[in-house]
Symmetry: D2
Subunit: 303 residues, 4 copies
């Protein structure tokens, strides 16, 4: 006779496309989010085991709350908005012990007319998507910020050599290649900084700049090395950051063989490949800070 039980679980409403316009003055502001809310709690097991929904805060209710909070609480930053949602659910319902709240944020720039920024017309920036998450788990609250799909490339200043060779190794060493990646990164905030309050929007801008500048300025011996330097620079730039995690595909640009056509190709014509790609992942930790594995539970892939 087989007997089973319920393990890790959570449930909620994913990808609520919440758009908040601030129109108190003629100069509107826009905050554009993709919000997911999921709840956890031991009492919720009954819905799985017997279909008893008496403590199931409906996913539709979570959706309504996400939209209502955009009005009631506002969205000063994605992180603060998610924190407000997390506090609401864990305080309003005794049996909700935790959850995971996530947001993607699409940035908009004001449209320029003869150099003047328009009051209420915007064009989507399209350069990376901002990320935020709040995780409440095991009695602790973890906040992360981040970015995904920030695509960068350097056309020189990247080597890859000195690696071991075995039966299956055919790769030629290079002292000059294109290095390109689509950065996905998340930074975990120190709990004490969260408690003290953080300028999350300003931090995002600064960290984004630091990541780009570090990618640009590091002479790269390996994408791993670049990744580590980028995380280090972010931590050095902002004391609120406890650790940074990255997943970086190595988007291969292969030198196209033009020799059959009697042409040389000194690093000028490349084929940008889709698949396969290298996939380099790593974490950079501020020394002396407690690790927080709970912060990363159920976040997509490595980051």
């Amino acid at each position: 006779m087989v007997s089973v039980s319920l393990g890790a679980n959570k449930y909620g409403k994913a990808e609520n496309r919440v758009v908040r316009i601030y129109r108190d003055t003629p100069r509107h502001e826009i905050v554009d989010l993709n919000v997911s809310s999921q709840l956890r709690g031991a009492a919720l097991a009954e819905s799985y085991l017997t279909g008893d929904n008496s403590v199931v805060v409906a996913t539709d209710t979570q959706k309504n709350t996400a939209f209502a909070f955009a009005k009631q609480f506002g969205v000063p930053s994605a992180e603060e908005y998610l924190l407000a949602l997390s506090r609401h659910f864990t305080s309003s319902f005794d049996w909700i012990e935790g959850g995971l709240w996530q947001a993607e944020q699409y940035e908009w720039e004001r449209i320029l007319i003869d150099g003047a920024a328009h009051d209420h017309s915007f064009v989507r920036k399209g350069q990376g998507t901002r990320l935020a998450s709040v995780q409440v788990i095991d009695g602790a609250t973890h906040v992360t910020g981040g970015v995904k799909d920030l695509v960068v490339l350097k056309s020189t200043g990247s080597e890859f050599a000195g690696f071991p060779r075995d039966t299956y190794t055919t790769l030629v060493e290079t002292d000059d290649r294109i290095m390109a990646t689509s950065v996905t990164g998340r930074w975990r905030f120190l709990p004490e900084a969260v408690d003290a309050g953080i300028d999350y929007n300003g931090l995002y801008s600064e960290v984004s700049e630091v990541l780009l500048a570090t990618f640009a300025s590091v002479h790269s011996l390996a994408l791993q090395q670049t990744l580590f330097e980028m995380g280090k620079a972010a931590i050095e730039a902002r004391p609120e950051i406890a650790e940074v995690r990255f997943a970086m595909p190595n988007i291969h640009h292969f030198l196209y063989d033009l020799a059959p056509f009697g042409l040389d190709n000194p690093g000028e014509v490349f084929h940008a490949a889709d698949r396969p790609y290298g996939l380099i992942e790593g974490t950079v930790l501020r020394d002396g800070v407690a690790e927080a594995p709970g912060a990363w539970v159920d976040l997509p892939t490595f980051v």
Copy 2:
């Protein structure tokens, strides 16, 4: 007894990811293209009818040529590069009577370090994708430029009212709504301007700015009206443009009903919907210019 024959056809290699680096000085330039090449010619019918490939310029050869031309001819602009490819194929092979050459172009910005633009490190701009095509058909050559996925939004200055009502009409008239769209547009160049030579890159920048500024400044009574004004402005801005075609989804932002929660919502909280969406398409023609239906054959969807 059923008898059949071959109708319209073409063949080639699609989505060659050609990346061209200019590295003649330490300040590198990058041109990043997704190139498709397809050929037409009456003699090619044999490959369909009997599998006789004796005049089939292999799709692999078309690919090699696309990469080789990035070196031999260079990529001063996507349009000029495609023109060079079109001339090569139609002049090198007697039986190649025409074809369609297309490119998507991904723009890159230099990474800034303390405000200084880096020599060889770039971040993908991500704001719209540039389009170009060259069509050789019925003895004529047509060149178009364009843009796709340029996402814009205005948080006020848009109405929709005065439409007819029938049994199936439930839409409420509005004098203030969010208007958002993802602009896909193509502009056809006047043949005489193509012959005289065009600053395609400068034109793209200027037209992009004009499209954004017009979207922003027009008080919109309908997305159709905004579309027409955008095309008109582009034609007014640049004498090289014969016509502009647009496909514009109306990306609906629905005011979220917060009344059940005792909250008013004066244009502040919206749900951005995915599907369905309005789809508005239209062409703006410079008066006195000959139409050129051949230019648009086999281009994706309306544009």
Copy 3:
């Protein structure tokens, strides 16, 4: 002074996800559609030129009609349902002269329990997506059926040789390769067959089988040849079909070079590439049938 005018245009609501359940008996039926409706008419120019919406049948109204007709008219087949929509719009509004109605259809199979097909539980088939369109243009009505994303592969029985060689040709001739493609095809119905009534669902099943069987049984000298034979077989199978158009990417499977590892590779291990891919397009016409270019206006890409 620049003067402009309005050219080709249409507008409507795209991608209405209409799901119709027939539940008159305990054995339910499901029809799952993605429906787009767009209208044309000279009078609509005013909405573009001046924002006068007095004859603009709102895209929201088109959406409501699409859902209401799924109840009122039902969905005996996608083609008949779209025909009903086209008749409604062109007959209910004097100024609507034509339009384009399109549907994608997702097929579902009944879930089997111990070999018995369940009454109301389904699993999505996932093998190709059915297509249908009705175009009313220049006073004529054109109906097409079709399929997209039908992915097929043969592991032998495909050659490619005898093609011309130039400076840019490096491809080696082969008498045994993998041939794989994702079939997108549309068949135009003879107007007299449409008038007489067609078993569209039965035809779709039969044509799908014929396409697969022909792909399988033709020893291929070129994907062009296979394409033509597939269209010919469809026309031979069903007298209602006037012509068939195909777009077939040649999904390259490259033999992986295992020689550096001391291994031979007699057609056993391949790398399936994403981009670039061959792109072969062609039309097969029943002899003696009038061409109908209007049928294909604004349909996506070649088909």
Copy 4:
């Protein structure tokens, strides 16, 4: 002075599209995989910290090995093939302590001609994608199988009622709704079953059938309940399974309001929404089996 160190990391080559044809007899077999290989080991820290690649088994080498093993070891099942890769890397290189190897598998069916299955022509099944992973971590090896994107729907036999109501609750209780989801699930194999050898392909077929049959036959009070019953049934069906994890979006089908048009809608016409969607996740554990958190490290999202 800020000081940092390296935390969790791994690196490798992702999405190798390995296609293996078995052609020993005229009746070919095809195995079609998307393979990712990533390695871990303390010694690899140097590549991050200093760019020293002396122990970095190149991602290109991992790719070559994946293709070579498809020939040398073959692909009896995705799980066995990944196990072979994992053994190779951890035994060939002293410093490689673990890693994560993943595969997606696309199933193909033989094309039928007059009811007869063709020897070497196939059509992609398209009904769900098979998953497999091998994780070597902390000295243990974990093997999982799974499926993703298996889309199912039941048009009745699903309720949702009895949930708590708060300020933000507007959802109406229902005793008859459409329930649809896209099943992603992974089952972890008992280590002793892995050691003894498992018929992974037979198990996949059987579990897929059991999941579908359970979805169909359970009268659902909540998607949570259906999820649990599906996991329970899989564990009951196969003694090799230690636990099953699921992520199931609740793909909402909203009854379209036809009342404004004077039509009733007794569960016949629905709008299938894209976003937001419910997202229900849960784990079903065989009682008496040790948990294995290491098995799930870095697998995408919840599963």
